[in-house]
């Protein structure tokens, strides 16, 4: 089971956030991801491991390569945690609409 602490720890690194940003466009191989960073491939692998353990990315074999893919559900939880007030106001504005219809 993924713990929220792991998700936040994973997101605390700018390099890992950059990895997630790259994966928003679609799955990529570790080599492809590494080419975007000024770091050695083992470091990229380490970041990918942390992201995988946090449930933020999944790994799939594609022939001889491993492809990494974004898993959005932990991020959705984070968003709900970050913006409870926005959700609150969106719901309230919906209710306001209903009340105006009944007035």
């Amino acid at each position: 089971m993924v713990r929220t602490d792991d998700v936040f720890a994973a997101l605390a690194s700018p390099a890992r956030r950059e990895v997630l940003r790259l994966l928003l466009d679609g799955p990529r191989t570790a080599g492809d991801l590494a080419s975007h960073f000024d770091m050695r491939r083992p470091s990229v692998s380490e970041h990918l491991r942390v992201l995988r353990e946090a449930g933020l990315v999944s790994e799939r074999r594609a022939g001889r390569e491993r492809r990494y893919q974004l898993e959005p559900s932990p991020l959705m939880d984070v968003r709900d945690w970050l913006d409870p007030y926005e959700r609150f106001w969106r719901d309230r504005l919906k209710s306001l609409r209903d009340v105006l219809e009944e007035m």
């Binding site: 936040f8 997101l11 605390a12 700018p14 956030r17 997630l20 940003r21 928003l24 974004l70 959005p72 559900s73 991020l75 959705m76 984070v78 968003r79 709900d80 945690w81 970050l82 913006d83 409870p84 007030y85 926005e86 609150f88 106001w89 969106r90 309230r92 504005l93 209710s95 306001l96 609409r97 209903d98 009340v99 105006l100 007035m103």
Partner: protein, 147 residues
């Protein structure tokens, strides 16, 4: 992440009617929360709401009417209860603008305190150009097959 929540919505009703929904205690109770609101600068009142643990909000908003201009603007202070984990001391502003046959309602909920652990943690995570990502996440999630 910006310092506040800014939403706007077109409502197919006159500004006078929207204003009534925003400032009549009974009508407010129906769309917002039960309250003892009075349209009077300096009036202090509470909203009895639903607790939001993620925001450290116990459920009772401690509010004050800060300013208003009939059918145009209403500004409230919105504070957490003294014993809530959150030290929320925010400002809520409704602005009404006539638009076509209706009203555009702007909602600004700002003044979040960066010293509040609930807000500070959010900022830390959102640093480094992280803003905007949650919206993209929703788009990506919407396109994913149900597993």
């Amino acid at each position: 992440m910006s310092d506040g929540i800014y939403l706007d919505e077109f409502l197919p009703h006159s500004p006078a009617k929207v204003w009534r929904a925003l400032t009549d205690s009974g009508l407010m109770a129906r769309w917002l929360m039960p309250n003892d609101f009075k349209l009077e600068v300096g009036h202090r009142f509470t909203f009895q709401g639903v607790p939001m643990p993620a925001a450290g909000f116990g459920g009772t908003g401690h509010c004050e009417v800060l300013a208003f201009e009939p059918e145009k603007m209403l500004r409230l202070a919105w504070r957490a209860a003294p014993d809530d984990p959150s030290t929320l001391d925010s400002t809520l502003t409704f602005t009404l603008e006539p638009e076509g046959t209706g009203t555009r309602l702007f909602l600004a909920h700002d003044g979040f305190d960066s010293g509040d652990v609930y807000q500070a943690a959010a900022r830390r995570i959102m640093g480094g150009g992280w803003a905007g990502i949650p919206g993209r996440i929703s788009e990506v999630a919407a396109e994913l097959p149900v597993q």
